[in-house]
Symmetry: C2
Subunit: 228 residues, 2 copies
């Protein structure tokens, strides 16, 4: 697998826990990954950290670089947004021109601190719908990765978690499902962008379960085998 045939990925908010996890997975899978942040310094530090982790894992070479969010969005084919909900709208308003014609993977979970274990979906239905409304129809917003524990993603081990992939364009969902698989998980076409509400709400349920079991819970889709 060479990076020539693969889309260039940017992760905005790529210095956070989930962004770090996705960057490690995709870099290790051979993708060119741009880590975006509000300042180039923070992005550079995240890249240095990623290179160190890859070296520890014996991964020979990775194609990773640091940029500010704006430059990262311009340089990439598929852009993943992993900023907190409170920064989602402002970040997308700012980057809207750079995202036209591209795929935006929205990982935003509309948590309302301090009650993050309580489902409090926004008036618009979901963070995914907010992203699609802000960006307009020329950006294919695909919602994904809300139910994956950053802890597990950051590790190099196997992942016992499925990913619900929602978005209004089937081809865009299919592209994202490839990235889910590259990160070591199964991805499912989970419907239009409205359905992002399910995965977003489920995050608060998983936080509730994590507290009880001191764990990093995820979900799996069962019952796919017709014969069972």
């Amino acid at each position: 697998m060479t990076t020539d045939t693969l889309p260039v990925l940017a992760i905005l908010g790529g210095t956070g826990d989930l962004g770090t996890g996705l960057a490690r997975r995709w870099a290790q899978a051979g993708y060119r990954v741009i880590i975006g942040s509000r300042t180039a310094d923070k992005a550079e530090a995240a890249v240095a950290d990623l290179r160190e982790v890859m070296a520890e894992r014996g991964v020979a070479a990775v194609a990773v670089e640091a940029m500010e969010n704006q430059a990262a969005a311009e340089a990439a084919d598929i852009i993943t947004l992993t900023v907190p909900f409170s920064h989602q709208a402002s970040t997308l308003e700012q980057l809207k021109p750079a995202l036209q014609g591209k795929i935006l993977i929205d990982v935003t979970v509309p948590l309302v601190p301090p009650r993050v274990a309580r489902v409090q979906l926004p008036e618009q239905g979901s963070a995914g719908q907010i992203a699609q409304e802000i960006l307009g129809e020329e950006v294919a917003v695909v919602s994904a990765f809300q139910n994956v524990a950053a802890h597990h993603l950051q590790e190099g081990a196997g992942l016992d978690c499925d990913v619900l992939v929602c978005g209004n364009k089937k081809e865009a969902r299919a592209e994202v499902i490839k990235l889910v698989e590259a990160a070591g998980m199964r991805g499912f076409h989970a419907g239009m962008i409205n359905n992002a509400a399910a995965a977003e709400a489920l995050t608060s349920v998983l936080i509730t379960i994590n507290k009880q079991y001191s764990c990093h819970a995820g979900i799996r889709i069962t019952g796919l085998d017709h014969a069972e």
Copy 2:
């Protein structure tokens, strides 16, 4: 296990697919089950059908009877509501006096036909919240069973599906988790009644997946093992 020590269960809308499945599971587990319907005739037919299925399975005796919804709600300790969303509010308004001081298991999924594969949660947040608002604080509304395929529930076989159990009272959730386990599944404390939105929204996602795979999908919580 004798029925003397177990709560008496009523299933309102107990002639539908999901109600039928729950009635079979609980009757087989030794609970006294009242199948409620809008007419006694329909409830009687459901009871006759259940007895036939139990006989086929070689289950010696079950404690099942038929009643109209109102009488069923009055006679039972724990009442399960499995009517369509369009009948939820009117049914609960009518039965509100009979439900005071009891546990109401709300299985309602706020699907909006014909687009049942699209998440369209109600203004109140979830059907579970609607139930709690209508019934008031003296009824312990517990939301559960939205993600279990009726098809699998009706069968006698093992169930590869977990149940998210939401409600404002922990003791009531714990009672419902016992019933989840009696039906052959794992139940999880999934938070306050607001969190019912997660399970309700997930049903539309599972319908989406069912269409693609011609299956009856469910979910499992993963990552509970601290050591993994």
